[in-house]
Amino acid sequence: MSVLKSGTLSQERIVFLFAVVLFAAYALLLDGFLAPNNLVAILRSVSVLGILAVGMGIVVIGRGIDLSMVAVMAMATAWQLAMMNAGTPPLLATAIVFAGVVAVGIINGLLIAYAEVPAVFATLATASFVFGLVRSRFIVQDAVPVPPSASFILEFGQARLAHMPIEVVMFAVAAFLSFVALRFTKFGRYVYYMGDNYQAARTMGIPVRPMIIGQYVVSALVAWLAGLITAAGLQSINTRVVNSTLLYDVILVVVIGGIGLSGGKGGMRNVVIGALLIGIMLNGMTILDLPNIYQNLIKATILLVALIIDSRLNPRDEQVGQQGDI
């Protein structure tokens, strides 16, 4: 423990080391793993996950959690495409959905900051609400295709920048912008203060309640971006993703990367490392042709180990005991 305590071996470093070891092992043992296209494929496969984790990361650093992200991602995009399919001009449809997404973020924030509902329950409830509302009122089936008239969305999905697929570029941009915001803006520093000690931040005069609303609006908008990128790549969005394990994968990336669930710690570097580890792991397992159930088992085991390490490195101290976890 002394090594861990002294900070030379933080969770982030352990995960990074693990990712490097795994990468080296796959590179040695698996033919074709090191091919440039495969490396690009790894990045692409975790891009949407990574973008979602960027949004989730910001919220978790502020000691919250947003379980409505995947619902917002799928349903906002599906609603937007459905409107476009029905002949609504793309810009108008986008504006309407933008307002809807911001509203979901504000509702989450209001429930958590003012009604003081725990974030887990508030966002779980809005997730169901968003899914139910859009699924029953605005779309008629699970899969909504990108309308042929919106060829710009398709072209966007095919675009490459410096040989990198657009998904990867967008992940990099989202992570970089969030990094800058968290590090160098007042908003970002406040997020850390709130996550570290909510009461103290409040006493200091930080507008904690509006800040909470702001965080959930950001995570909702990031989720929508992830949905648009998914739709651009697949030429459709399938709302079944709400029932998948994607949400847990997002939390996995955040926790495994080393952003402690008790808030106030970590940054975008952790998200990138977490996403890379998951990408390398899944890619290798697919090359090995491991069935999905084993892949899930391995993923779950790694999450458990990460949680245990997290609780050893960031023990529940008196402060957390008083304020509660997320």
Partner: protein, 343 residues
């Protein structure tokens, strides 16, 4: 001719005339009354995996119109891909005061609903399994023989590759619990046994998720760019596999074979070359089979659980060359018809 016979004839003619009006009312056809008595007011409930995809909406429309047509009551439950919600719906229906006469169930896996099917039959409800079979043989199964379907896919893939090709095939399976996935695999394996020169280079699962399909297909194509055909077990996930083929710049070189409900999107994908072949389930024909079976069971005097049958839908591998107007059905039309009904 004697007077006696003349008299008899006249009498007979008179009798005929006298009874004529009665004949006009009673044609002697017992059908309509019997049908009315056996079918009218009978409740039939469809419980698909979810209502939000093409097959389920097709059944809802085509079978629903038939049931309403014979004077029955048509209802649906939407578990939205949640096995527990589906089980709850079946349980509620079994114990409801207004019991349905028949359940049409699209089972998620081999075992989850088996005990419930038995309970439904014990409660006097006919159970017809649709599309996916389970381990329990209920009153009937209507759907694909998934093994045959897999054989058709494999044959289409072998034909698409041809002799001069790499003869390497990749699969994007569904999962390892759903009969439609397991049986498809068995069918494909059978055909490949007859073609020992063909090699299966990878068979990852999509877990029925389109993004997962895209990721695993990308990896598969990356490892084996020489693959000549990929078989994806469902047209919904094949959208992801198609994206992977497009990303890899292998459009036209890697032939994508899949299976689906024969909705317009399938035909469009065949038309533009996204799919090379689709083994189509004839939803209209299948719905007609189910409707006929319902009419039979409810009139037959059979008790639920007394007989069992498997009614396999005719499947055909459709390629671009086979496309004709009317090959596919239109979800849009079906939805418009349902919306008009709701008004």
């Amino acid at each position: 001719m004697t007077i006696k016979t003349k008299l008899a004839r006249t009498l007979a003619a008179a009798l005929c005339l006298a009874t004529l009006p009665a004949f006009a009312q009673e044609t002697g056809d017992p059908g309509p009354a019997y049908v009315q008595q056996s079918l009218a007011g009978k409740k039939v409930v469809l419980i698909p995996l979810a209502l939000g995809f093409d097959l389920a909406q097709g059944w809802n429309h085509y079978i629903g119109s038939e049931v309403r047509g014979f004077g029955g009551v048509w209802e649906t439950r939407d578990p939205n891909w949640d096995t527990a919600a589906g089980a709850q719906a079946i349980t509620d229906l079994i114990s409801s005061a207004d019991k349905p006469a028949a359940l049409l169930v699209h089972t998620p896996d081999l075992t989850s609903y088996s005990k419930l099917f038995k309970r439904a039959q014990d409660a006097g409800i006919f159970v017809i399994q649709v599309d996916n079979r389970s381990n329990f043989a209920s009153d009937a199964f209507v759907g694909s023989n998934w093994e045959t379907l897999g054989e058709l896919e494999a044959k289409a893939a072998v034909a698409a590759c041809g002799d001069g090709s790499s003869k390497k095939i990749g699969l994007i399976q569904g999962d390892q619990v759903n009969s439609s996935s397991l049986d498809q695999y068995a069918g494909i394996a059978k055909v490949l046994k007859d073609h020992p020169d063909f090699e299966l280079v990878g068979a990852p699962d999509s877990n029925w998720d389109v993004t997962t399909a895209r990721n695993v297909a990308t990896t598969l194509l990356q490892q084996h760019p020489e693959v000549c055909a990929v078989i994806d077990f469902w047209d919904n996930t094949a959208a992801g596999t198609a994206a992977a083929i497009r990303d890899a710049g292998l459009t036209g070189k890697v032939k994508l074979v899949t299976t689906g409900g024969g909705e317009e999107l399938d035909c469009k994908a065949l038309e533009d070359g996204t799919f090379h072949a689709v083994v189509m389930t004839d939803v209209k024909g299948q719905s007609r089979d189910i409707s006929a079976l319902l009419k039979f069971l409810l009139q037959s005097g059979l008790k639920p659980g007394q007989a069992k049958s498997w009614i396999y839908t005719l499947e055909t591998a459709t390629t671009k060359a086979d496309l004709k107007p009317g090959t596919c059905w239109s979800l849009k039309d079906v939805q418009a018809a349902e919306a008009a009904l709701a008004k």
